[in-house]
């Protein structure tokens, strides 16, 4: 009887501490997202509210087939293009894309003239701001109850791999994913231990193609170094 009681107490304790999201966490299915633009706005505003972002921005959907999303520096309108929507298969993945753009829009409020001149440093060192937007996207997702691993999933699924970084505005996708992985590992490790995306075909492919970069990071964890890793192509 005592054993039974102990088991009962243990199991209720375990259930109470289980890292489950509230039932209301996911609002939409992929089908609903593809069918109804309103889902995009709702997820966007949920990210804003949960992160206490008091800067105004709006969200919209474009029928263009670019596999992309963008933020207008002029009016802080975040556009997600149909080409990218076609790749979305979970609400987490859509939240990942929106959270990245929200970070750009928040940054556009910094500086003089209501942030009007803030585009200047973005012209010279765009990749620095992309890195920050990826990292803030992880924070925003976690605060809004989304799984940040989905940022890696959507990138590996939809973002192509260029050869050289110097020519582009974004870091190479392989590097971005490695940096995001490092960021999640460092700040929110629970998501990697309890990872519902572990067997997801796109995440599995990330584990395959990122092995050399994850080895670099494992070395950093082992030595406790704080130096920035230069991730490989």
């Amino acid at each position: 009887m005592k054993k039974f009681l102990a088991l009962l107490i243990l199991s209720t304790l375990l259930a109470a501490s289980a890292p489950a999201f509230p039932a209301t966490s996911r609002l939409f299915t992929a089908k609903e997202i593809k069918k109804n633009n309103e889902t995009i706005y709702e997820i966007g505003f949920r990210l804003l509210n949960a992160n206490k972002i008091d800067k105004r921005m709006t969200f919209s959907y474009s029928t263009k087939d670019n596999v992309n999303a963008s933020t207008s520096h002029i009016n802080r309108n975040i556009i997600i293009y149909d080409g990218l929507i076609q790749y979305i298969s979970t609400e987490d993945e859509l939240a990942a894309v929106l959270a990245h753009e929200i970070s750009h829009a928040v940054d556009s409020y910094n500086g003089i003239f209501r942030g009007y001149l803030e585009f200047v440093p973005h012209i010279f060192i765009p990749r620095k701001y992309e890195r920050k937007a990826d990292q803030r996207a992880v924070d925003y997702m976690v605060n809004a109850g989304y799984n940040p691993v989905a940022l890696i999933v959507i990138m590996n699924k939809a973002f192509p791999q260029y050869r050289y970084e110097v020519l582009g505005t974004h870091p190479l996708t392989s590097r971005r994913m490695a940096m995001i992985y490092e960021y999640i590992y460092t700040k929110y490790p629970a998501f990697l231990v309890n990872n519902p995306y572990q067997n997801n075909v796109y995440y599995q492919n990330f584990l395959l193609n990122s092995e050399h970069n994850r080895k670099k990071f494992a070395q950093k964890v082992k030595t406790g170094s704080k130096k920035k890793i230069r991730y490989d192509y």
């Binding site: 509230p22 206490k52 910094n110 440093p121 010279f124 976690v142 809004a144 700040k187 629970a190 994850r214």
Partner: protein, 215 residues
């Protein structure tokens, strides 16, 4: 009628042709007929780093901020100063915890809820280092907490950017370029770091009822 006849013709000829199978004699005479291809099994890649370093540790899942009641304006200002200098130019990294000190007794509903000189922690959410072309560093600090107050009742964020030198570095480099490319040198000028010294005051809020759990 013509179509039916044509179909019947097709059927007849194809069954006749079916008898004319071409055999691979080499395979039949030299290979074991019981050989079968192995069924395809999806390989599962494991994350060894996670298994080695994280598994079995008590890692709490972050609690999402889904239940703020923004209509609830009950709250008092909490004034803090950093315990030690906070700088984007030093050893601070994303996820590090920084300490602050309360500069005066904080009173709510006639009761002191935080005493002067008590400690408040916060998380360095993100550091973006300064860069060439005068690009400034930036820092975001949030998740303020005190051991004597319930979770998520301290509300505030530090979001600062260093001096943005890109606004003059670019024009300068442009003007200096005709002089033997001297403008190129100016592109190495970096933007400013963010420094918060221990005598600077930071204001956050104590909001006891705005965040509601268990909803």
């Amino acid at each position: 009628m013509i179509i039916r006849l044509f179909l019947a013709f097709l059927l007849l000829t194809s069954s006749a042709l079916a008898g004319e199978l071409i055999r691979d004699e080499l395979v039949e005479t030299t290979l074991d007929s019981s050989l079968k291809p192995k069924p395809y099994v999806q390989k599962v890649y494991k994350d060894k780093l996670v298994e080695k370093t994280l598994l079995g540790k008590n890692l709490p899942m972050p609690v999402p901020n889904l239940h703020y009641n923004y209509a609830d304006s009950d709250g008092v200002v909490v004034k803090l100063r950093p315990k030690t200098k906070i700088s984007t130019g030093g050893k601070l990294r994303d996820g590090d915890v920084v300490k602050f000190v309360v500069t005066q007794n904080i009173v709510h509903n006639g009761r002191v809820i935080l005493e002067k000189n008590s400690e408040v922690s916060a998380v360095v959410e993100n550091i973006s280092p300064n860069d060439r072309y005068g690009v400034p560093a930036s820092i975001v600090i949030s998740r303020f907490s005190s051991e004597v107050l319930p979770d998520k009742t301290l509300d505030g964020e530090i979001n600062l950017q260093g001096k943005n030198n890109s606004l003059w570095v670019y024009p300068l480099s442009y003007f200096l370029m005709p002089f033997f490319g001297a403008g190129f040198g100016t592109t190495f000028i970096r933007g400013g770091n963010v420094n918060i010294s221990p005598d600077e005051t930071i204001e956050i809020y104590y909001r006891p009822t705005r965040f509601r759990t268990g909803l």
